[in-house]
């Protein structure tokens, strides 16, 4: 009985993992919700257009960040698995990641402040949670 329950749970958990959206899909979904919210709330056409353009830029920046993190994690695990790996190899890998990370961080922050500039305080209150969710999604 216990064994069959475990088997059912294992299948259910495997199903959950298989249904989990990829980080890229989650980012796209969150930012699509942000676009819809912006289109509905921002009545000024010029600011609305600027906001939508910045959301698109944020999406590209988060995609790049997600890719940098996934690649670096894979390389780190691959390096760590090798007993002969040297400190210099770890330093080179982490230096490269940190350079890409700093560039991605600047792009994300630049897009964030474009959005701040294009929105009123009330509009931002409605949009902020979507940006936060997309940031979370980028590291799933």
């Amino acid at each position: 009985m216990k064994r069959s329950l475990c088997a059912v749970l294992a299948v259910a958990l495997a199903g959950c993992a298989a249904n989990k959206p990829s980080a890229r899909d989650a980012i796209a979904n969150d930012l699509e919700e942000m676009r819809a919210e912006a289109a509905q709330r921002i009545k000024d056409p010029r600011r609305a257009a600027q906001t939508l353009e910045s959301i698109e830029g944020l999406k590209e920046a988060l995609f790049a960040l997600e890719e940098a993190i996934a690649n670096a994690r894979f390389q780190l695990r691959t390096l760590d698995a090798r007993p002969e790996a040297t400190r210099a190899e770890f330093d080179a890998l982490l230096d490269a990641f940190e350079a890409r990370h700093r560039a991605a961080r600047e792009r994300v922050l630049a897009r964030h402040f474009e959005l701040i500039a294009a929105t009123t305080e009330d509009e931002w209150k409605a949009l902020w949670r979507h940006e936060r969710d997309a940031l979370v999604a980028s590291t799933r």
């Binding site: 400190r87 964030h112 936060r132 590291t139």
Partner: protein
Amino acid sequence: MKLRSRQRGQTLIIIFLGALLLSGTAASLLDSGKSATELRKEIGHLVADEDRALRLDGVIERMEKETGRFRSEHDDLGRQALALMERHETRPSEFGPLIERADALNAGARKTLLDLRFELRRSLSAEEWRSLFGAAPRK
């Protein structure tokens, strides 16, 4: 949404702090995919010499402790970063000091955790290391 709330601290660690060595699965060491408990269990089977097993256990304990300490400090910076992003009146310059502190903290975490990784490596044979960490990672 609750799951996302729990992940938020970790997210900000990566976005703003770039602390890759702290960003893997919770409690895994150097993103190896293995928890300290799993490693201890495997070392228990692998290393017959009790003194050496105890030394290895000590290194793993320090890795756990240091990872926890750095994560806690990073989470605190992460919460501050979130608060800044949420406020409409935040100016770009307000991120400067926070990013500087984050980068300094990240450099410290990187040095400490790599020192411990190599201390662990020196206490194991190449064959033992491969047995513990040699599985090909999945992308």
